[in-house]
């Protein structure tokens, strides 16, 4: 007769423990991860071709920004030399990823996930404690301000307060008004991250992309380090740019891949399968692959197939 109450007590304690441990009831992304580049390899590894705006639902403003962008800006403008990827782009870039978490030792509740990426030592905090986003007047940062909520076993992250940066590294901008939504899902040793960027300044509809990572413990992520140093003599305040209609490189991408020029100009209307039918008669792919024929890692992603 004495055993029954004790057994009930134990069950009650176990139940209470399970209910009060949300941190352990959810997926843990803690660990070291390596990126997979089977998606958008040429864009992410060597960098996008000039004038390639495909798959981007951009508006006319973003297209003009890309058309007049001069990549010399990265080196000639000293303040750009150490400018990191934005939080919406950093997980598409080069380098490994470390994720760890903060758990409050008194409540055992999950407070935050942290990420560290090799490129520019970029660190981000995803707050899981329900705190609000900062007010409008707060400074913006490269990584933005992130909060996360669980949707079943999927972590959904919302990030605001970005600094203006690039959506694609060929001059297509992403504004400081953009909002990033991420969906993180773990499948065993693989992590899938789906990102949705909404930008009222440069997009006509959300830009959806994804990338994947595999668990790769034991990494030694080094220090990136960066110090800007003017190396090109130029008048102070020089900002390289192509005058409207005078960028000589815009047709290269279309010519190399046999695409109609209009198809490379981006915009929502060019993103969906129906568009293939529209350009079917104008698409003349080269006889054999000449550029980025294999591009799954930094080491096999060569411009030529040789």
């Amino acid at each position: 007769m004495h055993h029954l109450p004790r057994c009930r007590t134990a069950h009650g304690l176990l139940l209470a423990a399970l209910v009060s441990l949300p941190a352990f009831a959810q997926v843990d992304f803690t660990g070291e991860w390596s990126p997979l580049y089977h998606e958008d390899g040429p864009e992410r590894l060597p960098g996008p071709e000039l004038g390639d705006y495909t798959e981007l639902p951009i508006n006319a403003a973003a297209r003009m920004a890309g058309d007049t962008y001069d990549a010399d800006r990265i080196s000639v403008v000293p303040e750009y030399q150490c400018r990191p990827h934005g939080g919406d782009y950093s997980m598409r870039g080069l380098g490994n990823l470390r994720i760890w978490r903060d758990i409050d030792q008194n409540s055992e509740k999950l407070i935050a996930f942290h990420t560290h990426l090799l490129a520019w030592d970029s660190e981000r905090t995803v707050w899981m404690d329900g705190r609000p986003h900062p007010p409008d007047y707060a400074p913006h940062t490269w990584q933005g301000f992130s909060t996360g909520v669980w949707d079943g076993n999927m972590l959904t992250i919302t990030t605001t307060h970005f600094k203006t940066n690039y959506m694609r590294r060929n001059g297509i901008p992403r504004s400081d008004k953009a909002v990033l939504t991420e969906h993180w899902t773990r499948h065993g040793d693989y992590l899938t991250v789906v990102t949705v960027i909404e930008d009222p300044v440069y997009l006509t509809e959300p830009l959806v992309r994804s990338d994947n990572w595999y668990l790769d413990p034991g990494q030694n992520i080094g220090i990136f380090g960066c110090e800007y140093a003017p190396e090109v003599p130029r008048p102070e305040g020089t900002v390289p740019n192509h005058l409207v209609g005078q960028n000589p490189f815009l047709h290269e991408f279309a010519n190399w891949y046999g695409l109609p020029y209009e198809a490379t100009r981006g915009g929502a209307e060019t993103m969906y399968p129906e568009y293939r039918k529209k350009i079917a008669n104008e698409y003349h792919p080269p006889d054999h692959c000449e550029r980025y024929c294999k591009c799954t890692s930094l080491f096999d992603c060569n411009v030529t197939s040789k």
């Binding site: 403003a61 800006r73 913006h140 440069y202 960066c226």
Partner: protein, 321 residues
Amino acid sequence: MTMPGRFSVARAMLRAASPLLGALLCLAQGQINPDNVKLTLAPVQGKVYVLMGDGGNITVQVGPDGVMLVDTGFAPLAPKAMAEIRKISDGPIRWIVNTHVHNDHTGGNAEMAKLGLTHESIGPPRIVAQSNVLNRMTAPPAGNQPKIPEAAWPNDEYFLPTKDFFFNGEAVVVYHVPAAHTDGDSLVFFRRSDVLSTGDVFTPGTYPILDLARGGSVQGEIDALNKIIDITVPAKYQEGGTLVIPGHGRLCDEADVVEYRNMLTVVRDRFRDMIHKGMTLEQIKAAKPTLDYDTQYGSTTGFWTTDMFVEAVYKSLSGKK
């Protein structure tokens, strides 16, 4: 992005810029109902805070020596602004610096000076401004525009490239940036707090307001933005470090100013090319030379439209009236 109170602020500025509409200046200030205005006092870093709301941003530095302000907002908002300042300091206002002449930055001079007196005061605060600000505020008003009261005038004007003083344990350096937003713009650098207050030389939510009638110019504005970039030093990877309080809008740092400078430099290059080719203002407008920036900085309505910006850039670079 336009701040909620920006419409009325800049409308007043625009009216002030036109002698014919000068009579409406007081009306614009009078239209501000302090009860409908929300002012937010936020810490920046070090000893510096910012007061944001309807009107220009007010920079507030506090410490054992008392209170220093950069700009004073609209006159009707002074009691409300002072109430916010009293939450962080009961010391006297000893210094006011006006970044330029417009009344959304100088309108509260007299009232704030009066409200800022305490038993520790040794007299009214020093009101620092570049000498062109004093010249414009003391000039006979045009039309029916009311005379600006003497108590609101700068009483410590400067005409050299810089002026500096030491207050609340830090050096304060005031830099004149000529012919930018106006001809009397000042940047105010709090050296130990590492905060720069820019006035309307930098307004990250809108195209720069080039007050050509008061001596502003495109090239001066670009030079002023480059001066800001010279003064500011970012922390790791182009972020943080020196914080920048713009004339209107959110807190920023060097990287935000760089984007703004880049925009105006690219716009200047395009206009120079078009003017060199002999294009008229109408032809330039039709070519939409600012299309890539309009969704970020432009506006088709309100006090400072994209059209007005384009016209100002054209006039400034072409020399045509």
